[in-house]
């Protein structure tokens, strides 16, 4: 075409064409991301007439570019003239939903769902139904997989006359030759089935579902449980028992551990949907089986659902049937199973009440608290409040201390980091006296840990403790000890003091800041190590917004002005930054 110039009505498209031919993918991506701007420049008529058809021809590019294109098109409704014209976007999006690369197809389906929201009901069927049928019967598995993601959206909005065909088409997709399509059909089944009427669910959808639940491919069968739950939510109790329960049974007894894992993982949901009756009569036996499964992954998943399931059962059943399994899980070979149990088991305490918890559960908690693997111990500690509300802290306290100390001194720093995270929670539970007595020293030790992340976490910890126990407590207990660190001969520990001041200054009152912290900062501004001196500047910079302006003028500025002429250039730089904050 003849060289278009700015001002030419087609100039934006010409520029776009050129940019999309560029070898550099980044430039092509940028061009695509500016499509909205181009559309605005062209106006809605030309966008519809020229831009969209042009984009239809651009579908042969790298996946990143196509993904960006799909995303842009999803937001293009206003650019093509609003709801009445939204359907023109479906043509390029349909093509994108059929390309080879999964991520592009997924984005295209997302975009189609977005555009659909704008299409009015009257024109919906005409716009969507032919496209959905084309995708569902495409030659290659790629459009057929994408089609599965659209049924839940399309079905409720079409006329009743068109519905039987669509259900039949979905049934075909569930019986597709390729596992990829059957998987897509199975994973979208739960969203689709809830839009179908109960009568047709029973006559048509359930048979389809049952075939999927018996598929040869493990990866299709393992999606059965979630679909089961969706269907059961639409059926009455009788039908649920006769039609859905057998499927749950089959999944729990499946040869593939992955299928059993999925049931275990969803077991609370299964119980909730099937109802308390069925949970108590039928499901409890299945759950026990999963808790005792031969594969550790399955036991781990089941262990995390103990409380969820117990909520549906009578206390008596919990004690007689679930607790023996729980008991075995506490000494399970797999650390993951034990860790999973540890994070869930505390939830049983409120269920059983004070006496029963003391009799049955307490020893289990304590055993897990002494587990070899830190994660197990950490999980118990993290849920402590559930138990203390029921039986109080005293029984546990004496056992907690050794556990906490051991975790606090663990060789792996990530374990030490995790326990620091729980200290404020524990402090709140255990009370200020206990804390002062036993935990306070620990918190100080962490400030001197050899790993930086620990020292940093320790300072944050102090702030949170101040929030729990109050400023006065901090003033009396923490501040003196922290400030004492400022004369340590290793500069790294002196730095910790600066971070602590920076963090604590936000929560202690201005008195503490003025009387204790500022003088210390003045002193440290003369530290021989430049890192200390420029961190003083940084600390002051952080504190200035919270300081009274008179204080800033009278005490902060003099310190900074000296540092502005420091012999180290980094100190001068950060001094400058802080100085600017003063004004």
């Amino acid at each position: 075409m003849a060289e278009a110039k700015p001002g030419d009505e087609n100039y934006p498209i010409t520029v776009l064409i050129e940019e999309l031919k560029n070898e550099d993918i980044q430039l092509r991506l940028n061009a695509i991301r500016r499509l909205g701007t181009i559309a605005k420049a062209l106006g809605v008529d030309k966008t519809r007439a020229d831009l969209i058809p042009f984009l239809n021809e651009c579908l042969d590019d790298e996946d990143e570019v196509l993904m960006a294109l799909a995303e842009e098109l999803g937001n293009f409704v206003e650019h093509v003239g609003g709801a009445p014209y939204a359907h023109v976007l479906l043509q390029p999006l349909e093509s994108l939903a059929a390309v080879e690369e999964t991520v592009v197809r997924d984005k295209a389906v997302e975009a189609i769902l977005k555009v659909a929201e704008h299409i009015p009901n009257e024109s919906f069927e005409v716009a969507f139904l032919p496209m959905l049928k084309r995708l569902s019967t495409g030659d290659w598995f790629t459009p057929r997989s994408s089609a599965c993601g659209l049924y839940a959206l399309v079905y409720p909005r079409i006329s009743d006359g068109a519905k039987p065909d669509l259900r039949q088409l979905y049934g075909k997709l569930c019986n597709d030759d390729t596992p990829m399509v059957r998987r897509a059909a199975a994973s979208n089944f739960k969203k689709f089935v809830v839009t179908v009427d109960k009568a047709q669910i029973k006559s048509e959808m359930i048979p389809i579902f049952q075939t999927l639940a018996r598929d040869d491919q493990d990866s299709v069968r393992l999606l059965a449980v979630e679909n089961c739950i969706a269907i059961a939510s639409k059926l009455d109790r009788e039908d649920t028992v006769s039609l859905m329960l057998p499927v749950v049974h089959a999944c729990v007894n499946d040869k593939s551990w992955r299928v059993r894992y999925m049931v275990a993982d969803q077991f609370s949901n299964v119980c909730n949907v099937f109802g308390q009756d069925i949970a108590r009569s039928e499901l409890v036996g299945l759950f026990v089986k999963l808790l005792k499964d031969s594969e550790a992954e399955v036991r781990t998943a089941a262990a995390s659902k103990v409380t969820g399931v117990a909520l549906m059962l009578e206390v008596d059943t919990v004690i007689k049937q679930l607790l023996p399994c729980v008991h075995d899980l506490v000494t399970d070979d797999s650390q993951h199973a034990r860790a999973s149990l540890a994070s869930d088991i505390m939830g049983l305490a409120p269920l059983l009440g004070k006496d029963l918890t003391s009799t049955h559960l307490l020893e289990l908690f304590l055993q897990l608290l002494k587990d070899d693997f830190p994660e197990v111990r950490l999980n118990i500690i993290s849920k402590l409040d559930k138990v203390t509300k029921v039986i109080g802290i005293d029984t546990l306290a004496q056992h907690l201390m050794p556990a906490i100390v051991e975790l606090a001194e663990d060789r792996q720093w990530r374990v030490r980091l995790a326990i620091i995270d729980y200290i404020p929670l524990l402090a709140a539970e255990l009370g200020v006296e206990f804390f002062n007595d036993k935990l306070s020293n620990l918190c100080m030790t962490w400030l001197g840990d050899s790993v930086y992340s620990i020292r940093e976490a320790a300072t944050q910890n102090l702030k949170r403790l101040t929030e729990v126990f109050g400023v006065e407590w901090a003033q009396n207990n923490i501040i003196p000890k922290v400030l004492a660190l400022s004369s340590h001969n290793n500069y790294l520990y002196r730095m910790t003091v600066l971070f602590a001041i920076s963090v604590l200054s936000k929560v202690v009152g201005p008195d503490v800041v003025n009387d204790t912290m500022l003088p210390l900062l003045v002193k440290m501004a003369q530290d021989p190590v430049p890192n200390i001196r420029f961190n003083v500047c940084k600390t002051l910079q952080a504190m200035i917004p919270n300081l009274d302006s008179t204080v800033v003028q009278a005490r902060v500025k003099p310190v900074l002005s000296k540092l502005l002429e420091d012999k180290d250039q980094d100190v001068r730089y950060f001094g400058q930054q802080a100085w600017l904050m003063c004004n």
Binding site: T142, M180, R183, D216, S219, K255, S256, E295, E297
Partner: protein
């Protein structure tokens, strides 16, 4: 098929073997020649470089494409022409570059150990294939792009794009890769471990099998080859240097699969010093029907019924003439050669290569055993029939593949590839 006994199968196939035996395998085509237009053409036997030697062969699911991997990391793809007889160069690309592993101070060769095609067709214009060298598995997409500028004629460009790279999964050298029939996962095996990957996830893999002993001094067995079942997503096999084939079931447990079955022929092929060396299995393959397993060791091919772990259905011996020469073959390292084997599309026959550029087509359930020599017709005329030659262990056909739907064989002998055909339609039995 599953319910028939081996005896019934033998009876069923007898007629087929007779019919098949009536026509000959004929030379169809050679590739890697001087006058081809591939980058690799040109014999380099003068400078002794092995860069252009074929290291792997693989037909795609339809047989329309033949991928050939080379020691130099190049992959050449040939496409079947409409006449259904010849294959022509379709495209080629550099799959792997040689790398230097800094931790072990060892070079990682670019040699392509295996190529496998994605088992489902995504599109008429594009195919997906997976290649591996010793350490890194890669997936490529091969697309036909039609460029038509207005006024010009349509030009078809073939673009090969790397889709995924899976690195860091193997401490030892990768020997096999295989796609799963579920269309989303694949496995890769090295000397001691087998990993399960998802096509979309580069940075994580699951361990399927781990035979590494606590104490490496106790190491006595390594994995030599592995394969997934053609249509059962949860069955896989792996072979070892001790001549044992193990069948694993992915449904059973998540980690460190204990094998579900172990196939071992406790009757040794030979006794003596070389016994251990010749027992190692160089290739193991499920039959297309999925019921049988073929394994290739140095002297024999063995066929196993998946349901019978104790005794192979058949032991095909075709290297008897090597028995007296094992010493020499040990001296020149030829005893460590790894020969591949390949099933016919209807699971009735097996193909494997040998020395002197000979290859064997054997009846899996019959007694037939045909030996042929891979030669250009011009050369074949010079060598009279029935002339016995001295053993030349440098001329070997290590790589062999049978077309998935037709009576067409692809053979790799150093830097030349041969295609042999039989004018006989394939009879499908199941």
């Amino acid at each position: 098929m599953a319910s028939e006994t081996v005896e019934q199968l033998e009876a069923k196939y007898r007629g087929w073997y007779e019919e098949a035996g009536k026509s000959n395998w004929e030379f169809s085509q050679m590739f890697g020649e001087e006058d081809s237009d591939s980058e690799l053409s040109g014999s380099d036997s003068e400078d002794g470089s092995t860069d252009n030697w074929i290291s792997s062969l693989s037909f795609d699911r339809t047989g329309r494409y033949l991928a050939v991997g080379y020691n130099c990391g190049q992959v050449v793809v040939l496409k079947q022409q409409p006449d259904e007889q010849t294959y022509q160069l379709y495209t080629e690309f550099k799959s792997h570059e040689s790398e230097f592993d800094f931790l072990t101070s060892m070079e990682i060769e670019e040699k392509i150990n295996q190529i496998k095609w994605f088992p489902f067709s995504q599109h008429s214009h594009s195919q997906m294939l997976m290649t591996t060298n010793d350490k890194t598995v890669k997936i490529f997409k091969m697309t036909e792009r039609v460029q038509s500028a207005p006024g010009e004629e349509r030009k078809t460009d073939i673009v090969v794009k790397p889709l995924r790279t899976f690195e860091g999964g193997h401490a030892y050298n990768i020997n096999s890769i295989a796609f799963n029939s579920d269309g989303e996962t694949f496995m890769s095996s090295d000397d001691l471990r087998i990993n399960l990957w998802h096509i979309g996830v580069r940075n994580e893999a699951f361990g399927m099998v781990d035979i590494k002993p606590e104490n490496m001094d106790e190491l006595s067995e390594v994995i030599t080859c592995s394969d997934f079942h053609p249509n059962q997503c949860n069955h896989f096999i792996y072979s070892s240097s001790k001549g044992i084939i193990r069948l694993g079931d992915l449904r059973h447990s998540a980690l460190c699969e204990k094998h579900a079955k172990a196939f071992e022929d406790t009757t040794p092929d030979i006794t003596g010093f070389f016994q251990e060396l010749v027992t190692t299995i160089s290739d193991v393959k499920f039959s297309p029907c999925g019921r049988f397993i073929a394994s290739r060791d140095y002297l024999t091919m063995k066929i196993w019924d998946v349901r019978n772990e104790k005794n192979p259905v058949r032991v095909i011996k075709f290297h008897e003439h090597l028995l007296s020469k094992l010493c020499d073959l040990y001296e020149n390292d030829a005893i460590f050669d790894k020969f591949e084997c390949s099933w016919s599309s209807n699971s009735t026959q097996l193909l494997t290569g040998s020395y002197n550029n000979t290859f064997f087509v054997c009846d899996a359930f019959g007694t037939g055993k045909q030996s042929l020599k891979a030669l250009k017709p011009a050369q074949a005329q010079r060598v009279g029939a029935g002339v016995s030659e001295p053993l030349d262990s440098t001329q070997k056909i290590l790589h062999a593949a049978w077309h998935p739907n037709a009576n067409l064989l692809a053979l790799g002998a150093k830097d030349f590839g041969y295609l042999y055909q039989k004018r006989l339609p394939v009879r499908k039995f199941h």
